[in-house]
Every structure is written in C-alpha cells, then in structure tokens.
Amino acid sequence: MNCDEVISLMGADVDGEVDALRSHALRKHVAGCPACGQRVEAQRALKQALRTELPCHRAPASLRERVAIALRAQVPAQVPAQGHAHSPAQSRADRRWRWFGAGALAGGLAAALLWFAGSLWHPGSFGEDLPTRLVGLHTGATLGHRLIEVASSDRHTVKPWLSARLDYTIPVLDAADAGFTLLGARIDRLDGRPVAVLVYRHRQHMIDVHVRPLAADAPPADVSVVRGFNVAAAQGAQMSWLATSDLNAAELAAFVSGLASGKLGPAGG
C-alpha cells in the first residue's frame, strides 16, 4: 500500500469500516511512514474532537408534548383502515424497539398509537435519558480535564474524601487484581443532587462509575449504548451503580456488577 491509498482509506479505517486485510496493510505502511502516521493521528484527533465537542441536541419537552398531541389526533382516523398491525419478530435484546414496537406486539394499531403517544409523555427511566446524561458527564469530564478531583489509588483516601462531600457513603473497591486501576474520584451533579463518581482505568479505557443510593426508579442490571459509549448498570450494597466507558459492553457489565456485589479484588469498607 502506498501513501495515496492510505490517505483515501484512513478515514474509513479509523471508523472501523475497512476489512482486516487492507487494514493490516495500512497499518504496515503507517508503521514505516512518519508522514502517514501523522495523517492517521490527525484523523483520530479530529474524530475524537467531533465526538466530544459537537453539541448533541436533546428533544425539548415541548416537542414531546406537540408530537403526542399530534399523534393522538391521528388515532381515530387510522384505526379502522389498518386493522391489525403487523407482527414483527420480537427482540428482547433491542430496547430501542420498545419505542415504536411494544404496542404493536400487544395488539392492534390503536394500542400501538396510544402507547407510542404515551411513551412521549412518560419517557422511561432507563435506556433513554439517564445513559445519555451519563455519557454527557463522562465526555464532558474527559474533555474539561476535571475527570478526577481527588487523585489517589488508595481507597482509604478516596472514601473519606467522598464521604465529606456527600450525605451517604459508598464502598470503594481496589479492583487492581481484576485489572482495573483506581485513579481517583470526583463529584458530579445528577438529577440535581451531588453523586459520587469513582474513576477507574482498564487498559486504555477510562471508566466513570456513578454511585448513588438505590431509589425505586433505579435501572436494573443492563447495558445501553449512547454515541458509541456503553453505560452498564448494577445494584448492590443499597446503591445504584452506573459505569460509563468506551470499554466493551461485556467487560464493563462484569466490572460494574463485580463492584456492586463487592466481589472484585479485596472487599472495601
């Protein structure tokens, strides 16, 4: 592979859209070509900057209301003509499907429309707003260089620092044995309240773990994906644990459930 080919392919390669064979050839060329090395690095930096800097606009509440009203107005006109809705294959794994599909699975189109409209009024507590906000906090913290407010790998330093700033205490685990290095902690505001954030690193991946007292609407153990980041939830020790990272979903889920159950490395207290 020559420089011109690298230049035409490097964007797609950074996007993970180049097949393994050509990707390997590209890497081989880049390893021996400083100019192309810089080009590829610049592509990565741009991609990272776009992902962290571009504002992601969230639908305002007024839009949800407008849409709900408009859809409700459609219901009587649509139902007699359509009869039964189609019955697509059910996929429990795909939470996104719920948004449009759950009503249709339950019965006729009328139910689908009402459910659809209703869902606009009452967005669920998880798989929707919370992960998006967590990813926003995570990328915001990474970008603003305020990822860590107390830098310490010693849980006996981190825990009292957090306790002094919150009206609850959390178990802080040293997960180094499992390959997760405790870097420190910070406080984020989530739903208007200060929340403990433990910051870990696993290989090259930074992980934010938001820990707050278990509430009735706390998300169950699950993973959602927002803008390429994974958000894994777990419950344990009367706390709700939410890990946000670009680490893969399986490892992140295992890590957060380990933290929640206190079974990662030596138990903390």
Binding site: E17, L54, Q78, W97, F100, L109
Partner: protein
Amino acid sequence: MVHLDAGYNLARWLTHDASDAQDVVQDACLRAMKYMDSLHADDGRAWFLTIVRRAFYDWLARNRPALLVHDPESAIDALADEADNPEQALARKIERLALAEAVAALPLPFREVIILRELEDLSYKEIARIADVPLGTVMSRLSRARRLLQASVALRGLGASSAGDGA
C-alpha cells in the same frame, strides 16, 4: 426517548434552528406512524432517522428552496464563490471557526454524513441507506467533510495528546 432525541438532533443540525427542527420532527413522527409497516425490529433508529431526513428535505423544498442543492460539488461552489478553487476557499473559511461552527458551515451533503457518523454512531451501510447514496459515496463525502474540518482542528492545536485520555 433515544429516537426522538436522535431525530431532533439530526433535524437541529440540518435546519440550524430549534423551532424549524421541531416542525420537521413532528412531521417525521406523523409519517412514521403511517409507515410503521416498513419498520424492522433491528433498525428502529436508522429507520426513524431516514424519515426525519426525508421530512427535512421536503421542509427545505417548501421553505428554503434556494438552499436545496442536489449536487455536492455545487454545494461547495455555492458556499465559496469568491475563489477559483471553491474547496480551498471553503477550507479557509472553515479554518476560522470553532469546530461546532465549522460543522454547521459544511454544505448539507457533508454535514449530514458527519452527524450520522460521529453523533449517531451509525455504520457506513446504515448511513448509505438513510442518505440514499452508494457506500462509496458515504466514504468519499465523509473523507471530504473531514478534510474541510481538519483545518479548524489543526488551527486550534487539538493534537493527539489532548485527544487521548491520558493517565
């Protein structure tokens, strides 16, 4: 509400305006109800974004027909009329802007692929379906859009060091 947020985000980036974006998304939701039969379980978000995009171009044709450009080449020409090399002129113009503004200044065919790729994290295949263009066109438009944006990143000194997580 992942889909409504995603739809609104796309509409907001395409229209440049919060209230126009709301009109587009409302129209898209009504269309979505009509086309529900074409929805498959595995692509709810991409499916909805396709509808939002179509609703946007219809809205554009009704409200800002002058901005409707079918040819990406002429989209660049239209934005950079002063120079003999429009792409260079546009790159110079973009250089002076912060990254978000630089994205907002991209001609539509390039802006939409950047938003779908970097903010919505969609694959080239999904983007090709949404934008109704061949896969190769997605790749070349993304690469061209990035070339235009690269200038602004370089200018503001966002190098590899600040892009990583550090430790």
